[in-house]
Structure formats: C-alpha cells, structure tokens
C-alpha cells in the first residue's frame, strides 16, 4: 500500500541563482523535521568556516503530519549559530509548514550569497530570485506589507523575512514568520543578512489525495477532540504561557532585574491575568491548530500633544514578559509593549535582547560601562535608554556597539561582568530560575534552550529526586523531543502526542513504525547533534555558569556551584557511554 517515501529536498544556490531538487530515499527513516534537517546539516556544514560564511547552509524542514493533523504546525531551521558558533536550531509556526507542504518540498536548503539583496519566491511551480534592493533597510512590518502586494496566494502563503538587525548581522537577529511568529534564538536572521536574503515567500497548490480515508478521519477526530474538548491545552488557549508570570513570581522563579531578584514587586501589573484583562484583543492560531494560543494585545501610544495616538497589535507571551519585562524591571504593560514593538520591527530575538540589556544596565551601574560608550544611561524600568541602545546595536556606529551586537557573552568577554551576563553556553537564559536542572538543561541541551529538555519542569516535578535522576530525566526528555520534532508538532501539544497517538497518526498516512524504532530515532538524532556540535567547537570543559545563578534564590532554594558541577560530571559520564 504505502509507496516508498522519498524526501524531496529543494536546494537553492543564491550565488549562482541555481536550484536543484534532490530525491532522498535515504532520509525517509528520519521521518522529517529535525531528523531530516540534522542529517542534511551534518552533511553540509563546514566546520572550518565562520557561521556567516556564504557557504554555510540554512536548512528548513517540516514533517509528514504537518498541517494535516491538529497542532502539527512547526517548521524547523538548522544552521550554524553566529551567537554560539555551534549548533543552531529554531522552530516557527504560523503558515510556513502549511505553505511548504503545499509547495511539495519537505526540506529546503539555502546556500551561497546573492550579489545584491534578493527575496525568494518559492512555489510548486519553481523558484524565482527577485530583486529586494528596495526592501533592504525596511522594518519587518513594512517588508511584510510590500511583499503581500507583490506575491500571490493570499491567506495560504507564508512570508518569512528579516529586519535591519538581520541585515546588519546582529548575532541574535531573528527571522520573522508571518507577523506573529519567529525563528528566534541563535541568530538565523544574521545568516539571511549575510546571504543578502531579505525574505522568502512560499506558496503552493499541490494536490494530495488521502489514501486511507476512514482511518485518517478517525485518528484526526480523536486528536482534534483531545485538543479542543479536553483540558489538556487549556493553559495555552486561556491566559496563555503568560500565566507563568504570577506562578513563577510566587515561587521565586521569575528572573527579575538581571536576576538580582527572582521575584518582582510589580509582577501583578505585568502578569498574564493583567494582560488578558487589560489589553488582550484577540487570539490567533497557526494553520492547522484549533487551540489558538497566540495572544494579541493592543499597544496604544500617544505620540504627540492634542490626543495624537497610534495603536498596534502585538503578540505577547511569557518569554517576552520576562525578557523585556521583569528582567528589566518594567512596571507596566505599556513599557513592555514599547520594547516588544522595537524588537519586532528591528528583527531581534526578544529573549537575547532583553537579557543583554539586563547585563548592560548592571554593568553600567557597576561602572564597567560608561555613559560615554553607551550614549545613554540605562536604568531598570526606563524604556527610552533601552530603545536607543537597541537602535544603536543594530546600526553599529562604533566598535562598542559592534561588540554589543555579538551578544551578552561576547560583550562580557570583552568588557567584563561575566558573573552577571546571564548566558548558558553563550545563549541568553530563558525566563525561569527553577534550579539545577534548568541551568544544566540549557547549558548542555543541543541548542542551549529551555525547550531542548524542559529543565525548568524537571526541577519542579522531580524536586525530591537525586541529581542522577534529574540528569537522566533531562536526557530522556531531550531524546523524545527529537522524535516529536521530527514530526514538527507544536511542543505545547506534547501531552496529546504520546507514543500511541504518534504511531496511529503515522500509520494513518501509511508510515509504519513502533515504539522501539521511534526511541532509536530520538537516540540517533541526539548523537548526530552532539557529534556535530563537538565538531563546531562545543566543549563541556569550557562551560562556565555565571555566578549570579548561585547568588539568587530559586524555586528550589539556594543553589551551589559544587552540586551543579557534580550534575555536569554525571551528564558527561552518561554521554561518554
């Protein structure tokens, strides 16, 4: 019955304006998503060359369940990160996975460097290299509006693009996906900029008949009902991830003022509940997700005397409220919106931007940085200086701002203040201070993200367990997430996509597997990632955790460097096996 699966890879060379399609039967066992992308990246990355070298590939991949099962909405991007120098992996939702599916490609490889700014128009009818000279320098939203007028496929296409930050190769520039989602963290936007690639618009109309209708309908309905009628996903649909703000604050887990505190006196005003009551205007969904977790708030700003107002719709969630809120001591929603607006338009990763500003503020307070260097006096709870710094680090008028554009770790290397530059393996920390597993999880996880292995949750769920058990839980979770990321489900739906559900969804579209095989796949991807990043320079022995993590009380109490080191050693011993 099932025809042999072949992964269609679209290979785009920007330098020569050439495209090729590769039919890769050998990639089929990797299912899709991170499996396929990891393999392709390991094949193509050049460990000798800089992350921003034109030769370095950008890999995008979705999975066989994309869009056709509920909450399977993500596309993965894999690249060499300009922020850490090693493994770069990022996920985005909205319309991209849908548009890729309809274009008929399961993976897209982008290499080379265009001679002048271009954007790519990809469809099931081919690839066009289009002049983007006039778009260069434009903000994310302006670029989107213009491309909407230029390209076909209203409603079903996807338009991914960079802002000025990507063009200027800021190491934590992101790629915006359809206005409300992003390829965040680790600087994919800088690779776009280095390739002279302003945007990619994808659209397709490929027909895909269903082979086993009755079975497919049954599995679809089962998953749909779980997502819509049970309470499994209530958290994401209701207040959204911003519900964590109050929760973490009450437990001493909300990083505040550059983690000088783990609870915030103003938390109530910027909590998910307060956002929902005072500024939420609508919720939205990625294509194929009946849950709708994307919370859009209204930002109303007075720009002149005489009742001159502008208003904007901006999306918010926990990570934004942490990075551009509590971490910078912001006491109101308006202030957070002002910063969200700036990072969105410039095309910066919000977490890295906020955490960097936290370090800048404290470094300034301690006399490590001066007003002369900065041009402003950064102060917690004041947006104006921060807005100015963000603009400057994108414009990079001098050496100081060029260093700042390399991220917190590089800036601290140069100017000092390592103890409170809140990075883990060079990536800025996420919005939790829960304990050892959170720190270790981000330091050793493939992409140094809280999403690799959810250390914050291990800290809370396995509170009374031994260090070994926590480390084992992290590794187990990271391997299973590799499997879920081959399918490119949204990780918010991970409770729905347990093993049996995954197997029946795959079976409904003719992909036979079993639990052992899936676990084996998770394991294999774990190895591929690990070996690749060692090749790219990751070194356990170079890991240095900022002292601040051990100075500020966490959800699980005061932490000490010795226990952290012990857990790291145990992790290393498991990995060596």
């Amino acid at each position: 019955m099932a025809t042999k699966r072949i992964i269609r890879v679209l290979d785009i060379n920007l330098s020569e304006e050439k495209v090729a399609t590769h039919h890769r039967e050998d990639l089929a066992p990797f299912i899709g998503g991170i499996g396929v992308a990891s393999k392709l990246f390991a094949e193509l990355v050049d460990a000798q060359k800089d992350p921003l070298d034109p030769e370095q590939p950008i890999i995008l991949a979705n999975g066989p369940l994309s869009t056709i099962f509920p909450v399977v909405t993500k596309t993965v991007a894999v690249f060499r990160s300009p922020l850490t120098g090693e493994w770069g992996e990022s996920y985005a939702g909205m319309r991209l996975a849908l548009a890729m599916r309809m274009s008929g490609f399961q993976a897209i490889v982008i290499r080379g460097r265009a001679k002048k700014p271009v954007y790519l128009s990809i469809s099931d009818h081919g690839v066009r290299f289009k002049d983007a000279t006039a778009l260069w320098g434009l903000s994310v939203s302006e670029t989107g509006s213009i491309l909407r007028g230029l390209e076909q496929g209203r409603g079903h296409r996807s338009c991914i693009r960079i802002g000025p930050a990507g063009e200027k190769c800021v190491s934590f520039a992101n790629v915006n996906v359809d206005t409300y989602r992003h390829f965040g963290r680790l600087g994919l936007g800088a690779l776009f900029g280095a390739k002279n690639l302003k945007a990619v618009v994808i659209y397709g109309e490929k027909d895909e008949p269903i082979e086993n209708l009755a079975q497919y309908n049954r599995v679809y309905k089962d998953i749909y009902d779980k997502a819509v009628t049970t309470d499994i996903m209530d958290k994401y649909h209701g207040i959204g991830t911003a519900i964590n703000v109050n929760g973490l604050n009450n437990l001493n887990g909300l990083p505040t003022k550059n983690l000088q505190q783990s609870s915030f006196e103003q938390a109530e005003a910027i909590s998910g509940e307060a956002f929902a009551e005072q500024s939420l205007i609508r919720k939205m969904a990625c294509a194929g997700c009946p849950v709708g977790c994307i919370h859009i708030g209204l930002y109303r700003r007075e720009f002149g005397p005489g009742f001159d107002y502008e208003s904007k719709n901006l999306s918010y969630d926990h990570e934004l409220i942490f990075a551009l809120g509590s971490f910078l001591g912001m006491s109101s929603q308006e202030k957070i919106y002002a910063l969200i607006d700036a990072v969105e338009e410039l095309g910066l990763d919000a977490i890295s931007a906020g955490v960097l500003l936290g370090w800048v503020t404290e470094a300034f307070e301690k006399g490590i940085l001066t007003e002369e260097q900065l041009g402003v006096k950064p102060t917690f709870d004041q947006t104006e200086p921060y807005l100015e710094i963000l603009q400057q680090l994108v414009q990079q008028p001098n050496e100081f701002y060029r260093v700042l554009a390399l991220g917190s770790y590089a800036a601290a290397q140069r100017y000092g203040g390592h103890d409170f530059a809140m990075t883990l393996a060079k990536n800025e920390m996420a919005g939790y201070h829960t304990g050892y597993a959170n720190i270790l999880g981000q330091a050793v996880g493939a992409r140094h993200s809280h999403l690799d292995n959810a250390g914050y949750s291990v800290d809370q769920k396995l509170k009374d367990k031994s260090a070994e058990e926590k480390v084992q839980a992290l590794v187990k979770e990271e391997k299973w997430r590799n499997v879920l990321n081959c399918l490119t489900i949204c990780l918010f739906a991970r409770e729905i996509y347990q093993v049996e559900t995954v197997l029946s969804a795959l079976d409904a579209i003719g992909i036979k597997s079993n639990e052992a095989e899936l676990n084996g796949l998770g394991e294999e991807i774990f190895k591929i990632k690990h070996n690749t990043r060692l090749r790219l320079g990751y070194d356990f022995n170079q890991l240095a955790v900022p002292k601040r993590f051990f100075e500020t009380v966490s959800v699980t109490g005061n932490l000490n460097p010795a226990t952290w080191q012990e857990m790291l050693e145990y992790y290393k011993s498991i990995i060596r096996e």
Binding site: T67, I68, P70, M94, L98, R101, M102, G144, S145, R148, R154, G155, H156, D178, T179, Y180, E205, K206, D207, E208, P209, I210, L213, Y216, N217, Y220, Y224, V228, R282, K283, M284, A285, C286, A287, G288, C289, P290, V291, G292, N313
Partner: protein, 138 residues
Amino acid sequence: MAKILQAKYMAKCIGCYSCMLACARTVRHSFSLQKSAIQIHTAGGLQSRFLADICRGCLEPACARACNSGALLPRKGGGVRFIPAKCLGCRDCVEACVVKTIRFDDTSNKPIICIQCGSCTRYCPHQVITMEERENGY
C-alpha cells in the same frame, strides 16, 4: 426549511483553517486546502480581519442556472447539489456565481462546489461558522 452555511461570527475566527481541512478531507478526500469549498483568508495581513468565502446557499442559484449540462441542481432550502459525472468542466458556474465563491480545480477539471453538508462547521473550535436556517426565508 433546510439549513445553510453561515459565517456570522467572523470576529471570533482564530485562523486555524480547521474548517478548510475538514471540507477538503470529508468532501474531496484530499489533504490540500485548495480542494476546500470554504476559504478563510485575511483582509490584508494577519493584523487585519479574517474573512470567509462561503457559498451563500442561494434560493435561486445562478450557478445552477448557468450550468447547461445538468451537473448543478438547485437544492431544496438553498444552494446546490453537484453531480460530478455530468460536469464537463466548462467553468460557466465559476463565472455565474454572484459572490465569486466557486473556484476551479485544474487537476480534476471540475469546479469546487459547496454541497452545504456542514462538515466544516463541525470542526470549527469557535463556532464561527454554523449551519442555520435562513432568516425570513432569505
């Protein structure tokens, strides 16, 4: 009176496209949104409103009037029945539909016709689209 498809509550739409997937899946046996007879799109970017292109279930359907091969028959209560075997692929119905909701499928060489089955409404998580009786008979 038979019920017809209505999109009265579009302000509540989250843009999940579950309705389109349901139509494509149940009526056309396809994964492709292109095969759906209901189309959700934005008025101009995701910051704008969502709009729905749906068959309005005309009581005197212009599409059926335009079809001279007998593939489209007026349905009791509004809208049409579609008999694919009789369709020649002339596209006259596409031209005739007053609200321009019929799209043409080049693969099958047939129009994509809403048969007012209500499958799409059963998968809308927000009850944005519904099957309702026509008010005042119109």
